[in-house]
């Protein structure tokens, strides 16, 4: 399989503080890749750097195009949907308006967009019930569903997911990960998932990278890493 995203020597910093020290990784077309690591290791920063939300340098190839100098808005336009940590809900707008916004980067074809919104509601009936409610009043799980649905409205080629389990109860987290697995299977959308819950992420992903203070320290097939004692040790200390 070819890589839909290929990252070479990516560096990023917040002002003076250098957070990424030249990392390399790939996401396979149609596959799910996960980035694992402790708090502050640079996982979210990687996603933000990919989308041009912070200063970065290095080479980022998406779908055989060099996007390393492209502004965020344009990267979205060519099919990268980023679901930020904390979900990035437009909290005072309604659920439906949030979904409309997801299609903002697409040509304004009313019928297509309306039909995509209907599909989203079929997939997430909970969202349909809440379509006219302010998105900020939704529960954490519903907001995460909304964030995924909003990303789907782009008809993306690649989804970047930042901590989909953040603040969700185990059952809901499980549900969200099942949805992601279904989506990947049905639509073939490639995914890059950043996650603290290593076990869940490794179940979903086929490939994994382990990141520590801004450098990648290990990579491999998800199943292999899952069974690796040393990785487990750095997660639970045993």
């Amino acid at each position: 399989m070819s890589a839909i995203l290929k990252v070479e020597n990516l560096e990023a910093s917040y002002g003076e503080l250098r957070v990424l020290r030249g990392i390399n990784f790939e996401v396979e077309r149609g596959g799910v890749t996960t980035l694992l690591g402790a708090n502050g290791a640079g996982k979210s920063t990687t996603l933000r750097a990919l989308c041009g939300m912070i200063q970065r340098s290095g080479k980022i190839m998406f779908d055989d195009r060099d996007v390393s100098r492209m502004p965020t808005e344009d990267i979205v336009r060519i099919g990268v949907a980023h679901i930020p940590e904390g979900r990035g809900t437009f909290s005072t707008l309604t659920t439906e308006e949030n979904l409309h916004l997801g299609a903002m980067a697409r040509p304004n074809k009313k019928d297509e967009i309306e039909s995509d919104i209907r599909k989203c509601f079929e997939f997430f009936p909970r969202l349909q019930e809440r379509r006219n409610q302010q998105a900020g009043t939704l529960s954490g799980g519903e907001q995460q569903m909304l964030a995924i649905a909003r990303a789907l409205m782009l008809r993306p080629k690649l989804m970047l997911l930042d901590e989909p389990s953040f603040g969700l109860a185990p059952l809901v987290t499980r549900q969200i990960f099942d949805i992601l697995a279904d989506l990947n299977k049905e639509t073939g959308t490639s995914m890059l998932v950043v996650e603290q819950n290593a076990s869940l992420a490794l179940e979903l992903a086929d490939h994994a990278y382990l990141i520590e203070t801004g450098s990648i320290v290990m990579s491999g097939e998800a199943d292999a890493i899952r069974e690796d004692e040393s990785v487990r040790a750095s997660y639970l200390g045993y």
């Binding site: 003076e16 503080l17 957070v19 402790a38 708090n39 502050g40 290791a41 954490g140 901590e163 389990s165 953040f166 603040g167 969700l168 109860a169 185990p170 499980r174 603290q196 819950n197 290593a198 076990s199 869940l200 179940e203 520590e212 203070t213 040790a233 750095s234 997660y235 639970l236 200390g237 045993y238």
Partner: protein, 261 residues
Amino acid sequence: MVGAKGQTPVISIQGVTVKFGGIVALDSVEFDILDGEILGLIGPNGAGKTTLFNCLSRLYTPTSGNIAFMGESILGQPAHRIAGLGIGRTFQNVASFANLSVRDNVRIGAHSDTRSNPLFDALWLPSVRREERKIDEVTADLIGWLGLEDVAELPVGGLPFGTQKRVELARALASHPKLLLLDEPACGLNHDEVSELGTLIKRIRDERGVTVLLVEHHMSLVMSVSDRVVVLNFGEKIAEGTPDEVQKNPEVVAAYLGDGH
């Protein structure tokens, strides 16, 4: 509990509940931190660690429950009195006074341990000079103890992250706290730096006699330095005990690794 018998709690968290709107961030959490121990507080993202931390430093007020420090409730005290009572803290992503020098940052740490008033300060009266000497001594001592002499006169904002973290520690220790709250001190450090941090935390307890509450994601750090560990998940305490006991607790394993394990 290890070595807990007969020791007095420095701080006692009694049935603390915090609700934001309809969301329960902490649900009747209860535990003690004993004199001279290092207590690790862990839990997955969103478990309520930071909320509890903010209750202890009085940035939040619990919806119900009580927090007693040295036997007295702190809930009636405003946030700025907490340092004066003897509770110091550091911040997750360092919160230094970026434009001020390392020395001034540490001096400000001694604020709650000293007295002055603006009028006397402007006139630089003898009492002010005495107090300043006291502050300077404490500051110089800590700067030496933490090896910050070379950067003492530089503005903190331009220093490397790891150094800023030590300035924060020096600043927190300058008021001679009884209890030190560390909010994810390992965040953003690499392997070697984390193990140095572990040594430093033990030194703070051993050499400075400070009780430590360590809120942390980094398992191996928590497990290697803590005397006891408390585990939170979804706002509830799910385990408490020695690092060994906690690591074997099936609920903890499930919380961290998912039900599959």
